[in-house]
Symmetry: C2
Subunit: 398 residues, 2 copies
């Protein structure tokens, strides 16, 4: 039987070791450096990255590395994004990959820097404390563990404003596994989020199959999680396959397993988003196309007035209408129906009886906007806009 | 000498009467019904309206009325937007215009409903208390005054979450005047804002001249004020000309005078925006085109992470880079320079010395983003995202 567990992550599949250590990058002394190592026998890999034109040095590096479709390791640090740090910042990323390759080679696995992806997260604009990073890299190789503890420590080491580590593992009934970890709590938006995620599998799969599975999953999960409309300079999702199970799943099975792991990680990201007090799903139905449905859902999910109303448990459906009316999609104002948690509050563009009395005091709110012009639909996950969001984000760098 | 005064509004130009009364639409008993009446001799008028596809009944009505290019009066109510109210809501607007026309005819000025524009503002989705509106309309015609008091009372009667009335009057050295009033505090965005504004002039100008002056001004002022990215269903700006000065200004002089009045009203709207603690100007320079500059400025002005950082007086310039990197415009991340209040915090895409120490504790912050790819520029006015904004908007309808 196929099972999804949240207690396991990147080391759930066979052939992966990982860990997290405190390298001193964070002033707090918390875990801040993670390594995910693929023991093989295969080293196929795929990735998706931020669409922001301003890309952090580790994104530029990892995109380059991925063109070879082969990865032995991913090194990730929290405590600094290494974004907007100029040529020096790119050299720091390169030096980190070189150091990981050297440490792995010393340890007994001949590795080149070009087989090492780098991910960073934290404040934009500052150079990393490279002495600490490089010393940490030497240490971490010796701390790697194959057991589940290593995966959890890696998941903890990539946290920034996250309050809990996020892991998921799907054990397929055919004896292969997909595991993953993710971090991200704010700046979660259009294409991914300030989000780092590493997904591992012991399935046998080539680069094309992995890339297809990852794009399929990311476009339906990470790409449809929109906390604040902001898109990070560092977003990265990597998928590594060790082939250690010696099982080659069908593309559909692989797509589905990766999708389930990514979807569960997204649910965890949403639940731990900065300042969240409500978990909100914006569902648009009856659209002319799925693109229209997604665009309309995103516009509503990003509307500050909708988000503050839902923070206040206020069934102020007029704000949903005002928001969707600005979406560049096919619609007829007089055919729009809006429901909160299944209760119709606006029918054919006008208020329904009892609309102001709908109880939205629970933690989960589904807003359904039925456009009535077609049959396509899409969902976007978001959160409310709360005092805690403002608090957390008005005092981040200082 | 040409002078701009904030103590005068729509009754500053000759040929206009106005007032505001408490008709009982607002439960609080505050002023909630305003009338602006053009005594002539001319009755030329122009208007610009929300671009939201979901348009309130009074917008649909006033757009229809404006096709004739002629207005005798504008009736405005706060306490209810009359948006998303179905065919009944449109009948209410029509009945209001009919009642104003009848009252003005009784009073001695033969008027048709087709010469009366209607504007409404307040909560979306509820029908107006028409008995109170119609009784108010009969009364208000008798309260109209030509003096400056009438203009101020009208400006007060259109307030919702506004804390102060907004008026401006420009007395041109050539003996003609433009006056205006505006309301709007939240939902201020792309194309106008939950914003109602009536501009009057005693200049002699035909419909084409008025429309050109109004579009010229609105595109540079109301359209570049973006408090929360939300766009109302009710936004309306009307420009009425009485011709009472018997002076026909050049198009350039008319454009400039209307622009100055609209610009000053925008400064007042920004300063009174919901939850504002900082008045922020996002200035983009060095863009390939003015459209690019405006688009980039708008993207930064809408970014929740930029707005919360500025609320916290935090010079977190990395968020400005991350935001502008998502703008669909021509840019090169390595040529972007960002300054806060003139102090460069990021040069050529990387942090500048002292950037984290910039003092942003004052009320006014100018963020300048120099793209370095061309010579076009544009500015957008916005505000910070504060606890007070969340507070005010999480408890509006309930």
């Amino acid at each position: 039987m196929t099972r999804l567990l949240r207690t396991q992550g990147v080391t759930a599949p066979a052939g992966f070791r990982a860990t997290g250590i405190a390298a001193g990058i964070k002033a707090s002394g918390a875990l801040d450096l993670a390594l995910v190592f693929n023991e093989g026998p295969d080293h196929a890999a795929a990735g998706v990255f931020t669409r922001n034109k301003v890309k952090a040095a580790p994104v530029l590096w990892s995109q380059q590395v991925l063109t070879a479709g082969r990865l032995r390791a991913v090194v990730l640090n929290s405590g600094g994004a290494n974004a907007c740090t100029g040529p020096g910042g790119f050299q720091d990323t390169h030096a980190t990959a070189e150091a990981v390759a050297a440490a792995l080679s010393d340890w007994g696995t001949e590795t080149g820097a070009i087989e090492v992806a780098v991910c960073s997260t934290g404040l934009i604009g500052d150079r990393l404390p490279m002495e600490k990073v490089l010393a940490g890299v030497k240490e971490i190789v010796h701390e790697m563990a194959g057991g589940l503890t290593g995966g959890e420590e890696a998941a903890r080491a990539i946290m920034t404003t996250d309050t809990v580590p996020k892991q998921a593992a799907l054990h397929h009934q055919d004896k292969w596994t997909v595991g993953g970890m993710a971090k991200g709590a704010g700046m979660l938006a259009p294409s991914l989020a300030t989000m780092l995620s590493v997904i591992t599998t012991d399935a046998v799969a080539d680069v094309a199959a992995l890339q297809r599975a990852l794009e399929h999953a990311a476009s339906r999960t990470f790409d449809r999680l929109d906390i604040d409309g902001s898109c990070s300079t560092n977003d990265t999702v990597l998928l590594l396959a060790s082939g250690a199970s010696e099982i080659t799943p069908s593309q559909d099975d692989l797509d589905d397993a990766v999708l389930q792991v990514c979807d569960d990680l997204c649910i965890q990201l949403q639940a731990d988003a900065e300042g969240v007090t409500k978990r909100i799903v914006i569902e648009v139905t009856g659209a002319a196309t799925e693109d229209d449905a997604l665009t309309a859902a995103r516009v509503v999910a990003r509307d500050s007035l909708v988000k503050t109303a839902l923070f206040g448990s206020d069934p102020n459906w007029g704000r949903v209408l005002a928001a969707v009316g600005m979406a560049p999609v096919d619609l007829d104002p007089e055919r729009i129906t809006v429901s909160f948690n299944g209760f119709p509050v606006c029918v054919d563009g006008a208020g329904a009886p009892g609309a102001r009395q709908v109880d939205l005091s629970g933690d989960d709110i589904t807003v359904t906007v039925a456009l009535g012009v077609g049959s396509a639909s899409a969902e976007v996950r978001t959160t409310d806009l709360s005092h805690a969001y403002v608090e957390e984000n008005s005092a981040y760098s200082s």
